[in-house]
């Protein structure tokens, strides 16, 4: 059970995360710790690439909901990309796909 | 009857002096080598806490004689930041997370009696006694 969280780009108003591995009850605290500071930045646009996430359970959903609410409260935007069908289904079932930005096209060269 | 001698703790070498003092008294009182090692380990921990967290303080050794029972008391005094939550530093596992009061529960277990008094901003007074069996 491993997780790798890299912040590959970070500016005042933009951050890009690459997450790889499994997100479950054991790895979720590490993910939360790494992402929490981002949600405190005013008006930030965060893109999280989940292409290399092989497994995610409901605890992982919890982390992203927390992040989503935090970023939104500070006037920012969270975008999740690269979700596999399995992951996408989790967001569909939970109704989150209707309120979160999931698997949309990333605009080339963020402003 | 109490006879006290003290060592000022200002730097790491003073920890050695405090240990030496404690060992000499322990030997004189007739403690065996195992108990001597326990007493000096306790002294090390307490003196190190002073050195690391209070900056300076004193470590004193008392010879006790109560109802014919001989004992050795370690007194660690400092005027450092004090400990806001004593119950927390007396919990096992707290020392590993660093911070104030490293190893205090361990010191308590090495000795027979243990007493701690601390007020934030005023300093800390720790007393630990071992009785000769």
């Amino acid at each position: 059970m491993n997780i790798k969280v890299d912040i590959t780009e970070q500016r005042e108003d933009f951050a890009r995360l690459e997450i790889a591995g499994e997100i479950d009850a054991y790895t979720a605290p590490a993910l939360r710790e790494k992402t929490e500071p981002l949600s405190k930045q005013e008006g930030i646009h965060v893109v999280a690439d989940l292409s290399d996430v092989s497994y995610m359970d409901s605890t992982g959903i919890g982390v992203f909901v927390g992040l989503f609410k935090g970023i939104k409260a500070n006037g920012g935007h969270l975008q999740l990309i690269g979700l596999s069908d399995r992951l996408k289904r989790l967001f569909d079932i939970t109704g989150l796909a209707d309120i979160m930005d999931i698997n949309s096209e990333v605009k080339g060269g963020m402003e | 009857m109490e006879i006290q001698s003290c060592v000022s703790i200002l730097n790491e070498w003073d920890i050695v002096a405090a240990r030496q003092l404690g060992r000499n008294v322990a030997k004189e009182l007739g403690f065996g080598t195992v108990d001597q090692a326990r007493i000096t380990t306790a002294i090390s921990e307490l003196a190190r806490n002073i050195y690391l967290y209070a900056g300076e303080g004193q470590l004193c050794i008392d010879r006790l004689n109560e109802n014919g029972k001989a004992g050795l008391r370690i007194i660690a005094l400092d005027k450092g930041p004090g400990i806001p939550d004593i119950r927390k530093v007396m919990e096992d596992g707290f020392s590993t997370s660093g911070g104030l009061g490293a190893g205090l529960p361990g010191v308590r277990r090495l000795m027979d009696d243990f007493n701690i008094d601390s007020n934030p901003g005023e300093g800390t007074d720790i007393r630990a006694t071992k009785w000769l069996r």
Binding site: R32, S58, G66, T94, G95, D98, I99 | V34, P105, R109
Partner: protein
């Protein structure tokens, strides 16, 4: 004192025997000795002292350097003794916590207890098993006379104590909304507001709420992000997803929950579960919904309670008897 002397005598005897013949038997005796010593919680520095004392008896003429070397060993082992005592004390604490957990788990059972209603024409089977001691899954039945049987199944994200505490809140929130009991969407909307106000940002709850109308045999239901259940159509022997969309409880206080309907014929079944069932990990990966269907199919002729028991038993074995998540499954079957 006495215990010390006997230990000392034992140790000395073993050491002497080994010095004479280096036998495996003496080494085995040493191992047995350590078992006793550990049971008596003899710290490591004490063992060094035993060694030194025994050596002094057996070989009094060794050079002073050898005796000095013991001082270093003693000092080092005293530090190990420090850790050994902490370990002992942590073990005691762990035991206390375990006892407390057991009591808490009993309290939870009493708090959240629900009985499966007996209804003419509707057979019900239900089973909920926690992965750890405390259950973060929850189900609840309300039997409303001739009118309806209501069923709620919920899953708190996370396991253990935080999840269990959360569930108690949900249970009381549900108990205090009797007038809404009949309408699944109203129930979920009320609960959502309670949850949104009361829990942490990264904690939330999924819930399926169903109201089975006994006269019309229609299941009215709504879902708050809960794993979809199955509808088994007895006539065609086919499984359909009991699809319902709705947001998790606790994310958005204005969330709306759509109410769905499903007519139930004789021989049809409604199968509800928590994600501990579908997210069950096995050596070959996850249980697919199709695999789960094939398991249910195998027992389809049995009464609902037996079906849920057997499915649990099978999935438990697939996971080598280690549940990673709380597991809940409920089956309602119309029999006439």
């Amino acid at each position: 004192m006495n215990k010390q002397e006997t230990l000392e005598a034992q140790y000395s005897k073993i050491l002497q025997e080994y010095m004479n013949n280096q036998s495996e038997q003496a080494l085995y005796a040493a191992q047995q000795f350590s078992r006793t010593a550990l049971a008596k919680k003899v710290p490591p520095e004490e063992v060094i002292s035993l060694q030194k004392n025994a050596m002094q008896q057996l070989m009094p003429d060794l050079s002073p350097e050898v005796w000095h070397s013991f001082d270093i060993l003693l000092e080092v082992m005293t530090a190990y003794g420090f850790a050994f005592r902490e370990h002992q004390s942590l073990l005691d604490t762990q035991k206390e916590l375990k006892n407390e957990m057991e009591i808490a788990s009993n309290v939870q059972d009493t708090l959240l207890g629900t009985s499966v209603p007996t209804v003419d024409g509707l057979e019900i089977g239900a089973l909920s098993v926690p992965a750890k001691q405390m259950n973060g899954d929850y189900y609840h039945f309300v039997h409303d006379g001739d009118h309806s049987v209501n069923v709620a199944i919920a899953d708190v994200i996370g396991k253990g104590i935080p999840a269990a505490l959360c569930m108690s809140m949900i249970k009381y929130a549900m108990d205090s909304l009797p007038e809404y009991r009949k309408d699944p969407s109203a129930v979920l909307e009320s609960l959502n507001r309670v949850v949104e106000q009361n829990i942490d940002d990264s904690m939330f709850i999924t819930m399926f709420y169903g109201m089975y109308e006994l006269r019309s045999n229609i299941l009215h239901f709504a879902s708050a992000g809960h794993e979809p259940g199955f509808f088994y159509r007895g006539k065609d022997k086919e499984f359909l997803d009991l699809e319902a969309r709705g947001l998790l409880l606790g994310v958005d206080k204005n969330a709306k929950y759509k109410r769905y309907e499903q007519a139930v014929e004789v021989g049809d079944m409604v199968i509800l579960m928590s994600d501990g069932v579908t997210e069950c990990r096995t050596d070959e990966g996850f249980i697919e919904r199709e695999t789960l269907i094939s398991y249910i199919n195998e027992y389809i002729e049995l009464p609902p309670q037996e079906i849920v028991n057997k499915i649990f038993r099978d999935l438990e074995r697939l996971q080598h008897f280690q549940l990673r998540d709380d597991f809940t499954i409920i089956i309602l079957k119309r029999t006439k």
